[in-house]
C-alpha cells in the first residue's frame, strides 16, 4: 500500500512538472491600440508579434512556448495602470513589458514596483521619472538625454559644409521634449553658438504662422525644433509658406512618415537608433526583421512600413527579454534583474547596458542623427553608422 502511494506521488509530481513545462511563458503588456497614440502602438504590436512568432518557432524560452498577453490601454495612463494590475493579479503573467509612451510607462512601472515585478520598456522619454530598480529601459535612451542628445546633434551639424554660428531653439512644452530643448540651450552656449531665438509653445498649438515669422526674422544658421509628432512639420510648413527654409533644421521626435512626404521636410534632421540601410541591416537578425516587418506592416495597413526608432526599440526589448531569460535560466523577477545588471545584451539597435542606479546608460551611445534626403531617412552621423555614401547636406 505504502509503495503504491509513493509511486502515485512520484507520478503526480512528474505529471505536474510535465504540465508546467508545457505551459507557456506568459508575457503581459498593454499598448495604445486605440486612441491618439495608436498609430505608434500599431508599430509596436507588429514588431512584438514578429519576435514572438519567430521565438516560438525556435522553441520559445526555457523549452516553453511564449504567449503575449496584450491589452489595449486606449492611450490612457489611468487605464494602463488598471490593466497592469489585471495582468499581474488576474492573468497572472510571468513577465511584464511596458506600454508605449512616457505617461503610460510611468503608470505601468508604478504597478510593477508595487508587486516587485521586473518590467522592460522601450519608449519612456524622461529618465528622471523612473527610479524603480527592476525597471529596464530598452530603447537606447541615455540617462542624461538633455545633455547627450543635444551634444550629438550639435556634433552632427558641426560637420555641415558651413557649420552654424547662430541657432534658434524653438520647442513645444510637451514634457518629453521640453527638458531636452532646455538642455540644448546650455550645450549651444558652451559651444559658442549665438542663440538668436528661444520660443516655447503649448503642446497642441494650432497656428504656427507667427512663430514661423519670428524664426524667419531671427534667420538662424540652425533651427533646433523640440517637438513631437506633427508639430515640427506644421512649423516647417508655415516657414515654407512665407518662403523661408533654414539652412539646417533639426526635429526632435517627428512623425517620420508625414515629414518624409512633405516638401518642407527635405533635409530635416532627427534622432534615431536604427534605419533600414547598411550598416544596421548588415546584422542578419536585423535584416530578417526588416524584411518581415515591411511585409507585415504593409499587410496591417500601416501607412509607413519602414523600420526605424520605434519598431527597432520594440524588437530590442523582446531581444533583451530573450537574452535575460536564457542567460539567467529563469523567469524569476529578481534573478532576471540581477542578470541584467551584470550582463550587456546585443540587440539590433546596439549593445544595451544598465549601468546607472536607475538602469540607464550614460551618453548617447545608441543614438544617431538622420537626415531626410530625397524623401528617404539616412543616418548621417556618427560616420561609422552613416548610410553608404551619405553625408550631412545643407542647402
Amino acid at each position: 500500500m505504502k509503495r503504491g502511494k509513493l509511486l502515485g506521488t512520484i507520478a503526480l509530481a512528474g505529471l505536474c512538472a510535465l504540465a508546467n513545462a508545457q505551459q507557456p511563458v506568459r508575457i503581459g503588456s498593454t499598448l495604445a491600440l486605440t486612441g491618439p497614440l495608436s498609430a505608434t502602438g500599431a508599430v509596436h504590436k507588429v514588431a512584438g508579434e514578429i519576435y514572438v512568432e519567430e521565438l516560438n518557432k525556435r522553441g520559445g524560452l526555457l523549452g516553453r512556448k511564449v504567449e503575449w498577453v496584450l491589452k489595449d490601454d486606449q492611450s490612457r495612463p489611468d487605464l494602463a495602470r488598471t490593466l497592469y494590475e489585471q495582468l499581474i493579479t488576474v492573468d497572472k503573467v510571468d513577465l511584464l513589458i511596458g506600454p508605449y509612451a512616457t505617461a503610460n510607462i510611468v503608470a505601468a512601472v508604478g504597478v510593477a514596483q508595487r508587486y516587485n515585478k521586473i518590467i522592460w520598456h522601450h519608449t519612456a522619454g524622461v529618465p528622471s521619472l523612473l527610479k524603480y530598480d527592476m525597471q529596464f529601459p530598452t530603447g537606447g535612451l541615455p540617462a542624461d538625454p538633455e545633455v547627450s542628445l543635444p551634444e550629438l546633434v550639435f556634433d552632427a551639424v558641426a560637420q555641415a559644409p558651413k557649420p552654424p554660428k547662430t541657432v534658434a531653439i524653438v520647442t513645444s512644452k510637451f514634457p518629453s521634449v521640453h527638458f531636452i530643448s532646455v538642455g540644448a540651450r546650455e550645450v549651444a552656449k558652451k559651444r559658442g553658438l549665438q542663440e538668436v531665438a528661444w520660443l516655447e509653445w503649448e503642446f497642441g498649438n494650432r497656428d504656427f504662422g507667427a512663430i514661423a515669422a519670428r524664426v524667419k526674422e531671427a534667420n538662424p544658421d540652425f533651427l533646433f525644433i523640440g517637438a513631437i509628432g506633427v508639430e515640427s512639420l506644421l512649423l516647417v510648413d508655415a516657414l515654407r509658406k512665407i518662403d523661408y527654409t533654414p539652412p539646417l533644421h533639426f526635429h526632435m521626435f517627428p512623425a517620420p512618415g508625414p515629414l518624409a512626404k512633405a516638401p518642407a521636410g527635405q533635409h530635416a534632421l532627427a534622432l534615431t537608433t536604427f534605419e533600414q540601410h547598411p550598416p544596421f541591416i548588415n546584422n542578419p537578425v536585423a535584416a530578417a526583421f526588416v524584411k518581415t516587418f515591411n511585409e507585415r506592416a504593409a499587410k496591417a495597413g500601416l501607412p509607413d512600413n519602414q523600420v526605424e526608432l520605434q519598431a527597432a526599440g520594440s524588437f530590442a526589448t523582446w531581444q533583451t527579454i530573450g537574452a535575460a531569460v536564457n542567460g539567467a535560466k529563469s523567469i524569476d523577477d529578481k534573478a532576471l534583474a540581477a542578470w541584467l545588471k551584470k550582463n550587456p545584451v546585443d540587440t539590433i539597435i546596439g549593445t544595451l547596458r544598465w549601468e546607472t542606479p536607475s538602469n540607464y546608460m550614460p551618453g548617447a551611445r545608441l543614438y544617431k542623427v538622420k537626415q531626410l534626403q530625397d524623401a528617404r531617412w539616412l543616418v548621417v552621423w556618427p560616420p561609422e553608422f552613416a548610410a553608404p555614401g551619405a553625408k550631412l547636406l545643407a542647402p
Binding site: 486605440t34 486612441g35 491618439p36 497614440l37 495608436s38 498609430a39 502602438g41 500599431a42 512644452k173 520660443l199 516655447e200 509653445w201 503649448e202 497642441g204 498649438n205 494650432r206 497656428d207 504662422g209 507667427a210 512663430i211 514661423a212 515669422a213 519670428r214 524667419k216 526674422e217 509628432g229 506633427v230 512639420l233 506644421l234 508655415a238 509658406k241 512665407i242 518662403d243 512623425a255 512618415g257 508625414p258 512626404k261 512633405a262 516638401p263 495597413g301 500601416l302 501607412p303 509607413d304
Partner: protein
C-alpha cells in the same frame, strides 16, 4: 524691436486662423442660437469632412471639387440628425450629451477607416503663395478666408433679408406664435440643421488643405471655437467670423511679440472679460 514684416505676417496669420475659427463656429452658432441644439458633433463632422476631402483627392478629385459630394451628403446627414432629435424631443442639454456620444462614434469610425496615423493632403494649392512686398499669402489660407467671408455674408443676408431668414428668426424667438402665422418651423429646422452640417463639411475642406490630420485632433478645436461662438453671439451669422478674427489676431500678435505659449490664454481671457463686462451680449 520687431519689424513691420513680422507684424504684417503675424496679422495675416491671425486673420487666416481666425477665419477658420469663424467658419467652424458658424454652423455651431446658428444651430445653437436658432434651434437650441448644442452640437458637439460639429467638430467631428468637420474632421470627417477633412478626411473625405483627403480620400476623394487621393482618388483624383480636385480638393475644391470634393465639396460637390461632401456638401449635399453632410446636408442630408444634418437634416436627418435634427429629425431624430425632434422625433425624440431631445432638449438642449441632452443634445450636448447625445452629440458628444456621436463625436466619439465618428472619431472611432475615422480611426477605423483611416487609422490613427497622420494623414496629409498633398495638393497643388499648398505650393501656391502670393507676395505683397514682404508679406506672403498662401493660397489654402486665402481660400479659407474667402469661403468664411462669403458664407458668413451670404447667411447673414439670408437671415436678415429673406422670408426664410425672417421665418427662422421668428421661430427661434417664439415658435408657437410663428407657427400661428403659418411658419413651418419643422421644415425650417431641418433646413438649418442641414446647412449647419454642410458648413462643417466646408470647414473640413479648409482643415484638410492646411493641416495634417489625426482623429484625436477633433478635440483640439473645441475650446477656442466655443469661445468664438459665445463672443460672436449665439445665432449670429457674422459674429463668429468677427470674433474668430479678433481671437486669431490676438493669439498671433501674442505669439509674435511675447511668449508663443501665452497665445492659448487669449481666447478665454477675452471670453471672461466679455462675460464680466457685457454678459447680456452672450
Amino acid at each position: 524691436m520687431p519689424s513691420l514684416a513680422l507684424l504684417a505676417q503675424s496679422l495675416a496669420s491671425g486673420i487666416f486662423i481666425g477665419a477658420l475659427y469663424g467658419l467652424l463656429g458658424l454652423g455651431l452658432s446658428l444651430a445653437w442660437g436658432l434651434l437650441g441644439q448644442i452640437n458637439l458633433a460639429h467638430f467631428a463632422l468637420a474632421f470627417l469632412g477633412a478626411y473625405l476631402t483627403y480620400q476623394l483627392s487621393l482618388a483624383g478629385l480636385d480638393p475644391l471639387a470634393t465639396l460637390a459630394v461632401i456638401v449635399p451628403a453632410f446636408f442630408a446627414f444634418g437634416a436627418a440628425l435634427h429629425w431624430l432629435f425632434a422625433r425624440f424631443a431631445v432638449s438642449a442639454f441632452n443634445s450636448l450629451l447625445v452629440t458628444f456620444g456621436l463625436t466619439v462614434i465618428i472619431e472611432a469610425a475615422i480611426q477605423w477607416i483611416w487609422s490613427a496615423d497622420f494623414r496629409r493632403l498633398e495638393s497643388h494649392y499648398a505650393e501656391v503663395r502670393y507676395r505683397l512686398g514682404t508679406l506672403y499669402l498662401p493660397l489654402p489660407e486665402l481660400l479659407t478666408l474667402m469661403l468664411a467671408v462669403a458664407l458668413s455674408l451670404a447667411l447673414w443676408a439670408a437671415l436678415r433679408y429673406s422670408d426664410f431668414g425672417r421665418a427662422l428668426r421668428a421661430s427661434a424667438e417664439d415658435a408657437a406664435m410663428a407657427q400661428a402665422y403659418g411658419v413651418n418651423a419643422k421644415a425650417l429646422a431641418l433646413l438649418l440643421s442641414g446647412i449647419s452640417a454642410a458648413l462643417a463639411g466646408v470647414a473640413g475642406l479648409c482643415i484638410a488643405l492646411s493641416y495634417t490630420l489625426a482623429p484625436s485632433q477633433i478635440y483640439a478645436w473645441v475650446g477656442v471655437v466655443f469661445a468664438v461662438v459665445m463672443l460672436g453671439g449665439l445665432g449670429s451669422a457674422l459674429g463668429p467670423l468677427v470674433a474668430g478674427i479678433v481671437i486669431g489676431v490676438s493669439e498671433a500678435l501674442t505669439a509674435a511679440f511675447t511668449a508663443p505659449s501665452w497665445a492659448p490664454l487669449v481666447s478665454f481671457s477675452l471670453l471672461i472679460a466679455l462675460l464680466l463686462l457685457r454678459p447680456e451680449k452672450i
